[in-house]
Subunit: 141 residues, 2 copies
Amino acid sequence: MSKGLNRLKKILHHEGLRFTTQREAVWREIISSDDHRDADEIYMAIRKKGVSVSRATVYRTIDVLVKNNMVRKLDVGTGPSKFEHKIDTYHHDHIICIQCGRIEEFMVDQIEDLQDKVTQEYGFKLVRHIHQLFGLCKNCQ
Amino acid sequence: MSKGLNRLKKILHHEGLRFTTQREAVWREIISSDDHRDADEIYMAIRKKGVSVSRATVYRTIDVLVKNNMVRKLDVGTGPSKFEHKIDTYHHDHIICIQCGRIEEFMVDQIEDLQDKVTQEYGFKLVRHIHQLFGLCKNCQ
DNA sequence: TTCCTTATTGAGATTGAGTCTCAAAGAAAT
DNA sequence: ATTTCTTTGAGACTCAATCTCAATAAGGAA
């Protein structure tokens, strides 16, 4: 049994949505790798494995997964958004190489705490954040 | 004499670009307000003032300004990018209300320092960063 | 000033990511 | 098995942004 499949079923049920071949395939494809891939890459990978699915369905399913915290959407500044699953992972942010596109993950508790503090100071209720460091990786400098 | 106009002229000259009515108008429009506006809002404002300009030129000019550090591009997660001038301002990041779109600016030295540290640890050379807190403002909670 | 070279402009076409439409196919409840 | 209601998919569409290319304008030379 694939990781998180039950959780997916519960979520779909909870939202009054149906568990379908396509939705299962999208989820399986996303957890099959820890890479940061865009919707089209995920779409192509599913088709290559012989499952019939459309781009529209891939986008629609990813939306559900993102809303339900099983997948994270990553805006990398240029080109399509990328996605990563959130199974067995901790929260992290990203360092992105503006030359080769390489993506590294980082996490600093202190920064997270300071964020919370700032948000409170401004009277906001924090829902999510984007913290991305763009630069040149070792190889590209 | 409008703020930064000389700097704009120098930049254009340095890049082998010409100082034109349109480029001047775009710059004047952008520094005329501290708001965060998108390209179309800037375009409309210029036209309203009677200067003839096209959307293409507005986009092209903003690109030059962003590349030369006179204007900052702000990806607010949904819809068109927004822009703000960088004259007489200090570096800051943004808290954005996901309900009403209100944007507040914040700056925490400690976070900036931690960012530098993280980047170094990963062997990257930091070029720029995005740090955006999305949430609900006081009014929208 | 006028000439001349080269950059710029603008209207509209194009791109690209993502969303929408709607008829046909498929879940799930009874 | 029947009914009901959701989902799917091909392709149309949206929207921000970029590109095209003929007409226009900048600005250096003389």
